[in-house]
């Protein structure tokens, strides 16, 4: 059994020996993931702490495992449908559209967005940036290759967002999956097409520590189901960064059950998970 003090000692040791700082991560789920990591590695907390401070590669693996990396193609179709019909049409006239996927994990959200942009004829004007705290996750995202069986269910999401029109049930748009990705059932892979894989700029970035590293402002920032792992204080700091990194009328898109608390909420107009930056 891991105590809260054990977790604190682990966090302090990592903070002293690396650039990672988990001080303001949310308590319960963080502790649970530490416990799981100990079971998976057959270690006790002292061994985990020691090895994470001495061995850089092991630390990266540890960070990968204690940050949450579950994501899926077109996760939460309602959000994508709102984006498709309410948000993106307003941006279509812009010469460039700047988009940041903050905490992109294994990258399914990036490819979902690229596919949607392509369908709307907005692919060329999009400038797409993606970041994650973990270098392994960034590699996975760049490679754009996923387990077919694991992602099979999410093809339904693709159909809902890309092929169907919720405002006109009689209309279905015929789009073959092969337009955007190759499915190899024998190798059990879904591989994104090269033109999608080449589009985004990937950078390692830690929301705890780093500011806006892309020297650009954004029309849309995605940060879905990332700040749920942070405490209030860190959440506010990160939202402040996003607020400063958005153009006026730009959109911050959070997860369906995330919200902005505190005074920084006043910077935005909210509709569901979409936060539109106010004009001042």
């Amino acid at each position: 059994m891991v105590t809260d003090e054990d977790v604190q000692r682990f966090i302090t040791a990592i903070k002293m020996s690396s650039t990672y700082d988990f001080t303001d991560y949310s308590d319960r789920s963080f502790k649970r993931r530490i416990e799981k990591l100990l079971v998976d590695n057959h270690m006790d907390i002292n061994q985990l702490t020691l090895k994470s401070t001495k061995d850089k590669d092991f630390l990266e693996k540890t960070v990968r495992d204690i940050t949450v990396n579950t994501t899926e193609l077109f996760r939460d179709p309602e959000m994508w449908i709102t984006l498709k019909y309410q948000i993106l049409p307003k941006l279509k006239k812009n010469k460039s559209i700047f988009i940041w996927h903050a905490g992109c994990s294994s990258g399914q959200e990036i490819y979902s967005m690229l596919i949607l942009l392509h369908e709307l004829g907005m692919f060329e004007q999009a400038k797409v940036f993606a970041s994650d705290i973990n270098s392994e996750m960034l590699e996975t995202a760049k490679n754009g290759q996923y387990k077919y069986r694991f992602n099979l269910g999410y093809l339904d999401n693709f159909d809902k967002v890309i092929k169907e029109n919720p405002y006109n049930y009689e209309q279905t748009i015929q789009v073959d999956y092969e337009k955007y990705f190759d499915i190899d059932k024998v190798k059990d892979t879904i591989t994104m097409k090269q033109f999608l894989r080449e589009k985004a700029v990937f950078r390692k970035h830690d929301l705890v520590r780093d500011g806006n590293i892309f020297y650009s402002k954004f029309d849309i920032i995605f940060c879905r189901n990332v700040i749920i792992y942070f405490n209030n204080k860190l959440q506010n700091k990160v939202i402040e960064l996003f607020s400063n990194s958005l153009y006026r009328d730009g959109y911050l898109i959070l997860g369906a059950h995330e919200s902005i608390l505190g005074t920084v909420a006043n910077n935005f107009d909210r509709t569901k998970g979409f936060y539109k930056k106010k004009q001042f």
């Binding site: 319960r28 993931r33 579950t70 189901n225 749920i228 997860g255 059950h257 995330e258 608390l261």
Partner: protein, 187 residues
């Protein structure tokens, strides 16, 4: 006045009618927050809160992350998220991997609630087809809380309640009307 601070209820297959019965029986001034952790079809998101709300006097919400836990509300774990009770009496959500093939996982919600409320928690396990919830109820018991399972003879699917009874010495095995009576006596 009750000494308890919260009621947490876990259920899966066959629990919807029982849950409906319970939430429709509680008065608007019920003195505790009620946390519902139910397995739902992943892609069925909307409609569930509305369906329960029609019958309930208490307000039913799917909490957002970090939402403070308040008396007199029924909180339903959102589909496709784990629901934790954090220190400071707030909720926290997580998209971590499924646990016991489930997200939300009843065990995870029960673990965190029992850690936070200790002996001031009532944990109730209803009908269900897997063992998610059994370890959670055990944790409620170990932290001194009160444990109740729906009578397996009455459950549409008794796997979850039987697993809970195997995992720990539960305090009460109640039929649905008894569960309702028990809760109403807390007021």
């Amino acid at each position: 006045m009750t000494d308890y601070k919260a009621v947490i209820i876990g259920g899966s297959a066959g629990s919807f009618q029982v849950v409906t019965k319970i939430v429709s029986s509680l008065p608007a001034n019920f003195p505790l927050p009620v946390i519902l952790c139910l397995h739902r079809l992943k892609h069925v998101r909307s409609g569930f809160v509305e369906a329960l709300s029609i019958k309930a006097a208490m307000q039913i919400v799917e909490p957002t992350d970090k939402e403070p836990i308040k008396t007199g509300k029924i909180y339903l774990a959102p589909a496709n998220y784990h629901l934790y009770v954090e220190l400071g009496n707030r909720f926290a959500l997580s998209t971590e991997d499924v646990v016991n093939h489930s997200r939300p996982s009843i065990d995870l919600s029960f673990f965190s609630a029992s850690y936070n409320y200790k002996k001031k928690l009532v944990g109730i396990i209803l009908s269900g087809a897997n063992k998610d919830g059994a370890m959670g109820l055990k944790s409620v018991k170990e932290n001194g809380g009160l444990t109740i399972v729906q009578d397996p003879n009455e459950c549409q699917v008794p796997t979850m309640t039987l697993a809970s009874m195997n995992a720990t010495q539960v305090d009460h095995v109640f039929s649905t009307p008894k569960i309702v009576d028990f809760l109403l006596n807390l007021t």
